[in-house]
Every structure is written in structure tokens, then in C-alpha cells.
């Protein structure tokens, strides 16, 4: 057997030993040294878990070092900025809604303002729609806006599987459905889907979103809805 001087020379065999590559006299000599050397035993104990991890690696992948594309960071920043703006818009809408419903005087002022801005009655106001009893992790909301052609729907969905095809339609007073269109939800894209339907906002009673596995329905109570009662719907 080759004579080895001191721990250092024995220690340099510990890697091959931990991998099960030492045999014969070299192995026997190292094991004899280990029996009397606490420092080398400690060093071996530190290497063994690493040696046990090696089988999990695939050497064909050692050369692959995928890097995220340069624009990914900007996309994330842009998504976060968009989500912040959306939250601010919601807060403003809630603030306005609270003000409008705050009292008779406030309601009268709001009605005058709406009449001035839209040239019509208060039923022309944008209408936030709340979806309740949603499963944990899923957020759905909508805002309806009046137009001469019907209703514009700003649809926000979050939390369903990425790639989910969402179908949206409005329902009138007698339950007739008016298609509003489809969109595909993608993770990271938190912009509203802007859709439109031929149904007038004053006659809209429900917003329905079908995500394939589940259908979500939210009630709509447009102000001044009584003015349209009796009109016939067509599908």
C-alpha cells in the first residue's frame, strides 16, 4: 500500500470514496485512517449528502442555462402598474357610489351631474357589478357603460386557470340572453376585457360569465329600470 503522509492526502480520497469509487488497498487504508481520525470522518459526513444528490441531476442539462427574456421584467412591472391603477379606479368608483347613495341631496346633485354629462337620465351612469359567493382565489367584477348601440362591458376575471375561455352575456328582464363576446384569461394580464352587447343597460338584469367548468351570475339593478318595463325582447 502506498504510504500517505497526514490527513490531507487521505482527505483527497474522500470524494472518490463517497462516490463508491475506491477499491482494494486504497479503500482499506482510508477506512483504517477514518477509524482514528474524527476530522476526516466529519469531512466525509459533509460530502455524503452531496454525493447522494448527484443521481438526481441529468448531465445532459448541465450545459443548459436558460435565461429569462429581457422583456420579462418590464412585463411584470407593467402588469403590477396596471393592477395598481385598476385598484385606484375601483376605489374611486366606490367613493363615487358612496357619495351618490349618501343622501337625498347628494343623489339629486349626482342626477343633475349625470344629466349634464350624458345628456340623458341617471340610468346612463356606469354601473359596477358585483359577483358574490365566488370560490377562494377567484375574482370577477364588471362595469357596464351605456352606449347608443347597447352596453359596453369591462370584464375583469382573475384566478381561473390560465388560458380559460370565458363567455359573457347579458340577460334582460324576461331572461333572454344577449351575447357580449368571449375572451381568454391569461395569468399576468390583468387588463379588463372590453366587450359589448346589444342589450340596453337600462334593461340589463344579469351579467353571466361562463368559464367552462362554472357559470357565474351577478345581478344588475340599473337606476330608472322601471321606464323600460313592458318592452319586448328579442334573442
Amino acid at each position: 500500500m502506498k504510504t500517505r503522509n497526514g490527513c490531507r492526502e487521505w482527505r483527497e480520497l474522500l470524494g472518490a470514496y463517497a462516490l463508491g469509487h475506491l477499491a482494494g488497498d486504497e479503500r482499506a487504508g482510508l477506512e483504517a485512517h477514518l477509524e482514528g481520525c474524527a476530522g476526516c470522518r466529519e469531512e466525509l459526513a459533509a460530502l455524503e449528502p452531496v454525493a447522494l444528490m448527484l443521481p438526481h441531476g441529468d448531465p445532459a442539462r448541465f450545459e443548459l442555462a436558460p435565461e429569462p427574456p429581457p422583456e420579462l421584467g418590464r412585463r411584470i412591472a407593467s402588469t403590477i402598474e396596471g393592477e395598481k391603477q385598476r385598484a385606484q379606479q375601483r376605489r374611486r368608483r366606490r367613493t363615487f357610489g358612496g357619495f351618490a347613495l349618501g343622501g337625498a341631496t347628494a343623489a339629486a346633485v349626482a342626477a343633475v351631474l349625470l344629466l349634464f354629462v350624458f345628456g340623458g337620465s341617471s340610468q346612463d351612469a356606469s354601473q359596477p357589478v358585483r359577483f358574490t359567493d365566488l370560490p377562494e382565489g377567484i375574482s370577477i367584477s364588471a362595469t357596464l357603460e351605456p352606449h347608443a348601440y347597447g352596453t359596453e362591458i369591462h370584464m375583469y376575471v382573475h384566478g381561473v386557470p390560465s388560458g380559460t375561455l370565458c363567455r359573457v352575456w347579458l340577460k334582460g328582464p324576461r331572461g333572454a340572453s344577449y351575447p357580449a363576446g368571449t375572451f381568454r384569461y391569461r395569468w399576468g394580464d390583468d387588463s379588463d376585457a372590453v366587450l359589448s352587447s346589444a342589450l340596453d343597460i337600462s334593461r340589463t338584469r344579469e351579467v353571466v360569465v361562463d368559464t367552462g367548468k362554472r357559470t357565474f351570475v351577478a345581478p344588475v339593478n340599473p337606476p330608472g329600470a322601471t321606464a323600460t318595463i313592458g318592452q319586448e325582447e328579442t334573442t
Binding site: G15, M53, H56, R61
Partner: protein, 175 residues
């Protein structure tokens, strides 16, 4: 463990903190996402969703419980699971030259850790570990090919394993 200078409670609630976290960890997160999803496009989606979720929940991050890196990996793990479920319904085509992984997620994470650590090793150390361990070649043959004594190959295997341990510890590995 890798720790960020900004790792205080709520460290990800500001956009500037997200940018710092992205600069520090996006490479690793993306590498793991590609390894486990096998699709560069899905991996981008997963990393984006991870940072957006982290920003939304930024106030809840507490460095006393774990490092920012560990927290981001935990979020990414959930995102990958969600994406895996979505893909089970809608089979995807692999892109980016990487075969899709079919391993369970924890195995994929372990595999990625070893592969990333091997990539960070010096060439001399990686080479002897690949030749002797993964290719099972005799030490004498490797020594001859490299033009060094057989004892040098053995010592490089030893120092290579030590270096690998240090790299794994830097990546957050603990016994």
C-alpha cells in the same frame, strides 16, 4: 442562504422591491420553471405570475419565517402546480429546446438544484465529476485524457464535491 438587503417584513410591497427581487432571483426561478414545465413560454408565464402574486401578498412576507428566495420558490411551486393542472386539460407543445419534465415537482426541484449547482462549478471540477460519476469512466482513463496524474483526478473529485456543497448551501440547501 441568499438574503436580500431589503428582506424586512413587507419587503415586496413596493415596486422598487419587486425590481430588486427580480434582479436577484428571476434567473433561478426561470431556470426551475423551465426545468419543471419544459416550456419556455409557460415558464415566463409562471415567473410573471409568481412576482405578481408576491407583490399582492408582499405585506405578508416575514423574513423571520424564511428568506425571500424561499418564499418566492414556494409561490412558484404553487404556480407550477396550477399550470400543470391547466396543461393536463389542454396539452401544450414544448418550446425552447427543452424536453418537458414528467417528474413529480419535488423531484424536479431537486434535479434543478443539482444541475444549477453543477453549472456553477469550475470547469475542472465539473469535468471530473461528469466523466467519473455520470459517465462511469475509470479514473486512469480520465487522467490520461486530461494529461494529469490519477491522484489529481481523485483530488479534483474531492474538491469538486466540496465546491458543490458550498454552491448548494448558497442556493439554500440544508442537510
Amino acid at each position: 442562504m441568499i438574503q436580500l438587503g431589503t428582506s424586512t417584513r413587507g419587503a415586496l410591497s413596493r415596486e422598487r422591491d419587486v425590481r430588486e427581487a427580480y434582479a436577484a432571483h428571476s434567473g433561478e426561478l426561470y431556470g426551475f420553471a423551465v426545468r419543471s414545465l419544459g416550456d419556455a413560454g409557460l415558464a415566463e408565464e409562471a415567473v410573471q405570475e409568481t412576482f405578481v402574486r408576491a407583490w399582492r401578498a408582499g405585506e405578508r412576507f416575514d423574513p423571520k419565517i424564511g428568506s425571500l428566495r424561499t418564499w418566492l420558490f414556494a409561490i412558484l411551486r404553487n404556480v407550477v402546480i396550477d399550470l400543470g393542472r391547466a396543461r393536463a386539460v389542454r396539452p401544450a407543445v414544448a418550446e425552447g429546446g427543452v424536453e418537458p419534465s414528467v417528474e413529480p415537482l419535488d423531484e424536479a426541484l431537486l434535479a434543478w438544484q443539482v444541475e444549477e449547482a453543477m453549472r456553477r462549478l469550475g470547469e475542472d471540477h465539473r469535468r471530473v465529476l461528469v466523466e467519473t460519476y455520470y459517465r462511469g469512466r475509470p479514473y486512469a482513463e480520465v487522467a490520461e485524457e486530461l494529461g494529469v496524474p490519477e491522484g489529481t483526478v481523485k483530488s479534483r473529485v474531492y474538491y469538486g464535491l466540496r465546491a458543490l456543497r458550498v454552491v448548494l448551501e448558497e442556493m439554500g440547501y440544508e442537510d
